[in-house]
């Protein structure tokens, strides 16, 4: 949230100084750093264009798009059908979806944990509270300490829909604000487990994820995420009201170009192509 405020202030400072073509980008906190890098790099090459980037969350960005206060909305989850309905009733358009980057959702374990791989079913059991002890998934006889993201994050919803298949998280899950907090908690907790974006931290390791009990465990690496063999990948989206034209189109084309996708890799996500 602080990041969002900071970006907001920066954006306001930028807008005060110029009166050129302005593109506004608003949305996901997950994507805000990447969006800023894109904007910075693009603006150096095109000094006549100003790009304002604001965070606030995927939901905030989508409602800004619906209210017409932003040109591009960043979202770490696909638009919900209710949101598309809103957009349609306002602009008689369903919006245009641009897959701008790929992200692998990692499962973190403490690096002292003897468990290395977990199947999707086991993850579901752990996060819904059916599996409470590490010995049920091939570990020591100890209680599993479950960490997750706050329910305002796109990651929370993605994990719920794709791993828990829509079931509720166990109420013993400790929800922490931000990936860094989850990584930090797991690194200090020998029996901890957490999930989040591809992050780097001392004291944690990434669990290999198995699609089902029989298939091999796959670690989240740039290759497995790019080719889709790692089971927990998601797209990071950008939405516009209608098919982009003019400067907006040039900017989006640049993001999808090799140059724009290099920025994606530089901030730790994965290119779509």
């Amino acid at each position: 949230m602080n990041k969002a405020i900071l970006t907001g202030t920066l954006a306001m400072l930028t807008v005060a100084a110029v009166a050129k073509t302005t593109i506004t980008v608003k949305g996901s906190d997950t994507m805000v750093i990447m969006a800023q890098r894109w904007a910075e790099t693009y603006m150096t090459a095109h000094p006549d264009i100003t790009i304002q980037v604001t965070g606030g969350g995927s939901g905030t960005g989508i409602s800004a798009l619906i209210n017409g206060t932003t040109d591009i909305c960043d979202a770490s989850r696909p638009m919900k059908s209710s949101e598309r309905d809103n957009l349609k009733s306002r602009y008689s358009s369903l919006g245009v979806e641009i897959k701008s980057a790929k992200d692998g959702l990692s499962v973190y374990l403490n690096d002292q944990s003897p468990v290395d791989e977990l199947s999707l079913d086991q993850l579901k059991g752990i996060y819904t509270g059916e599996i409470k002890n590490w010995k049920d998934v091939g570990g020591p006889d100890a209680k599993i300490v479950v960490y997750g993201r706050e329910n305002n994050s796109g990651t929370y919803v993605f994990f719920r829909d794709n791993v828990l298949m829509g079931k509720d998280y166990t109420s013993t899950m400790q929800s922490l604000p931000g990936t860094a907090a989850v990584v930090n908690a797991v690194s200090k907790d020998k029996f901890g487990i957490g999930y989040g974006g591809a992050a780097y931290g001392k004291g944690i390791k990434f669990a290999k994820v198995k699609k089902d009990a029989g298939s091999p465990g796959i670690a989240p690496t740039p290759e497995t995420i790019k080719d889709g063999s790692y089971p927990l990948t998601r797209y990071l989206y950008m939405y516009t009201k209608s098919r982009p034209t003019g400067e907006l189109k040039a900017y989006i084309d640049w993001i999808l170009s090799a140059e724009g996708q290099a920025v994606v890799q530089a901030v730790g996500y994965f290119p779509v192509k």
């Binding site: 905030t60 706050e150 994050s153 829909d161 929800s175």
Partner: protein, 411 residues
């Protein structure tokens, strides 16, 4: 949050000799807390004059706070030529007081306005129709390997009833959302009580020390230092608790969950000590010196005097300090958000993670869909916190105003 300034008026008929200095402390954030007592030789009227002359804004300027002695002011201005400059200053101060009052009222109205539709009939839980066709896509490479997206899971349609707020499960972002506030309420209460159990004795005894035993240099040093602690950003305390304190306490007590209500309570105590200290120090210093002198003259030792004479006579003030501390701890967001683990459990154990009311607002408000039930419930939680802290402040005010002062007057 304790919000209003607290000024204790001795009333116009105070005839008790009191200490020469009138102690005045200050709560964090510049809220003045002053315990003013008239000088022994002067009549009360001049006490009021010296108060205005020393640059303090008399409480009587606030229209919401008419105090018993305010009639004096009118008497004082009688027969004096009207000075325009003074009038302007008086009016602008009055204006400022009105504006702050207006702000509080507006916030109050806003919060309640957003929460009230919850109790009307027209709200249904968001229902999603899975029939809408997909958005157009742009810039996609047909050749790129892409896995089919999981279909959007349909939300259960149901009607929200206010009775759900009394449930024991908090799962607002779910396909079947549950808005039970009981675990959150219990969580707030647990953390607050732990914080008070630690900060209460610490703050009160530190105040007793500085007001009765400390040599001048220690007193001069301690008060500002403890008050600096109040100015500490709570996010710093929270981070300290999350990274360092939690590990230390876990090694010490060996609890199963690293982040829990106890860790949050200990961290919260750091934020609450300064409030309890400042307010009880003021109450202790306001105890008339005659009582100390009489006790010492009767042969009691310094400790006996402090524990059995001064402390009991300042009880209402100390009680007020505890209530203000309670209010601060109940409303504090950042510390609990970082240090308690935020799991909405409905259990009595203090070594398990908890989720508090304030942390829930802090964590969820940013992403909620505006006008949704979830949004309204969060505003309802805000209104609840508002009412609780309002009630606590009023109670504290009442105790200081009536009990403490009556006790000194009747002595």
């Amino acid at each position: 949050m304790p919000s209003d300034s607290k000024s204790i008026d001795p009333g116009s008929d105070a005839a008790v000799p009191v200490p020469a200095e009138s102690p005045a402390g200050s709560l964090p954030g510049g809220r003045p807390v002053s315990v003013l007592t008239p000088k022994p030789s002067e009549p009360n009227m001049s006490a009021n004059i010296s108060e205005s002359a020393s640059g303090k804004v008399p409480d009587a300027e606030s229209p919401a706070n008419p105090r018993p002695g305010s009639g004096n002011r009118r008497v004082l201005t009688m027969g004096k030529p009207l000075r325009l400059g003074e009038l302007a200053i008086e009016k602008s101060i009055q204006g400022v007081a009105f504006v702050s009052l207006l702000f509080i009222t507006l916030i109050f109205i806003f919060i309640f306005k957003e929460a009230i539709p919850l109790f009307g009939s027209g709200i249904n839980k968001a229902e999603s129709h899975a029939t809408v066709e997909a958005s157009e896509t742009y810039g996609e490479d047909a050749a790129a390997p892409s896995k089919p997206e999981a279909p959007e899971l349909a939300q259960k349609a149901s009607h929200f009833t206010p009775a759900e707020l009394g449930g024991k499960t908090w799962q607002p972002v779910s396909l079947d959302p549950k808005f039970g506030l009981l675990p959150l309420f219990l969580g707030s209460l647990k953390v607050t009580l732990i914080a008070l159990l630690i900060a209460g004795p610490m703050g009160i005894f530190a105040a007793l020390y500085t007001s009765n035993f400390a040599p001048m240099w220690a007193r001069e040093g301690m008060k500002p230092v403890i008050e600096i602690l109040a100015g500490f950003p709570s996010v710093v305390i929270g981070f300290f608790a999350l990274v360092i304190m939690a590990s230390v306490l876990q090694n010490l007590f060996g609890f199963e969950y690293r982040l829990n209500a106890f860790v949050g309570g200990v961290a919260m105590a750091l934020a609450v000590v300064p409030i309890i200290y400042t307010v009880s120090e003021d109450a202790l210093a306001a105890v008339p010196k005659v009582m100390t002198e009489a006790s010492l003259a009767l042969g009691a030792t310094k400790w006996e005097t402090a524990l059995f004479v001064i402390l009991p006579s300042a009880t209402p003030g100390i009680f007020a300090a505890l209530i203000l501390g309670f209010g601060r701890a109940f409303g504090e967001t950042m510390i609990v958000l970082m240090a308690t683990g935020n799991a909405a459990l409905f259990t009595p154990h203090i070594f398990e993670p908890v989720r508090t009311l304030s942390a829930t607002i802090g964590a969820e408000m940013a992403e909620v869909v505006f006008g949704d039930i979830h949004y309204r419930v969060l505003f309802f939680v805000g209104a609840l916190l508002f009412i609780i802290s309002f009630g606590l402040n009023a109670t504290a005010e009442f105790f200081v105003r009536t009990r403490l002062m009556k006790r000194f007057k009747g002595a």
